[in-house]
Symmetry: C2
Subunit: 211 residues, 2 copies
């Protein structure tokens, strides 16, 4: 008869594999990452990845889904906050900035893997529904009806906020090469740019000439 698995000892290595795989997948993508890369990064035998997770694909999907959650959860949380729209948009941008500062490859990774295999998004529909059902859209329409905000669809506001931030990290290597920045200079650059973006987006939405 099977005893309940004592997860305390095994969890340690299972977690080591997960975390190592996350690093490797984020860096090289699904195609570029090999089972042996992951095993080496985790410091374990190759067979163990298939012992704990059943295949490379399964391991990947676990990590992918978690990263999609990470990508959207904080966003949804802010969208449902009971604060002014102006603060909300600024906070959304700020959050995206911090998220990508902590996970510079996150956006690049997700966009890529979704592009290569759109079906992978299927398991993440839930999070996206939450975005639609959040307070954000109705709050935006309300402010527009009051004449406080330029008439615009949420569909356009969201990419407006995120594109300007995520593009910095998606094209990090390119920006650094193009403007000959080192890591320190790049950090200065994105800090300044974030403020400019918040300024530009909010003033475009809120400070417009009513006709």
């Amino acid at each position: 008869m099977k005893k309940p698995m004592d997860c305390l000892s095994s969890k340690s290595t299972e977690l080591r594999i997960r975390e190592a795989a996350e690093r490797v997948f984020l860096e090289k993508g699904f195609d570029g990452a090999t089972s042996r890369d992951i095993a080496e990064a985790a410091g374990i035998n190759i067979a163990l990845t298939n012992y704990y997770f059943r295949s490379k694909e399964k391991l990947f999907m676990q990590i992918f889904e978690d990263l999609v959650q990470l990508f959207f959860n904080g966003m949804v949380e802010i969208m449902n906050k009971p604060i002014s729209l102006r603060d909300k948009i600024a906070e959304l941008i700020e959050h995206d900035f911090q998220l990508l500062k902590n996970n510079p490859n996150l956006s690049n990774f997700i966009m890529n893997e979704v592009h290569r295999n759109p079906d992978r998004m299927a398991s993440c529909i839930g999070v996206m529904k939450e975005i639609h059902h959040s307070m954000f859209e109705q709050q935006l329409q309300h402010e527009i009806s009051l004449g406080n905000v330029r008439p615009i669809k949420a569909l356009h506001v969201m990419p407006m906020a995120f594109a300007n931030i995520q593009f910095l990290f998606i094209g990090k290597q390119m920006h650094m090469k193009m403007w000959q920045m080192d890591e320190a200079a790049f950090e200065d650059f994105i800090n300044q740019h974030k403020q400019i973006v918040i300024d530009m987006v909010t003033s475009y939405l809120f400070d417009f000439k009513k006709e």
Copy 2:
């Protein structure tokens, strides 16, 4: 003794390989594309890719460099046009939009391959120097000194223009899933968004309160 190669007959298949490889690389990336994928897409024997190009890497680099040129050349051309700064920025955005409409994976592809192997940019330094030596930066500083443009560095203006366009295509699949758009709806969306972006960026730069 070697006769000069009659390129007319061979060029046909060499070109077929190049064009097929471009399609496959753009779609799957270097890691995801196999020699057999390319051969099949071109409808030729596998050995021919290494007969005309010496390796997968060499074939890739030719294509990659050409695509980097495509990515930047039109941009540089506009930056050196003798037109007003306002028109120039609008035209840069418009050009980027058309470029990516014709090559939806271009930005994603370049950002990715540069990230995976930054050395690949080495051969493309020339184009990037042209950007620095273009009329754009001095024209911007001139307009700023006249008080016509908000004080800002070119370093910040360029991502401002391109991020908002390229992000639409980088995240195309994601946007379509999230807002449940088909191809036609997506086309409408990006057309509208492009106009909004031009409006937002130019009004942010030019219509500011002078203090």
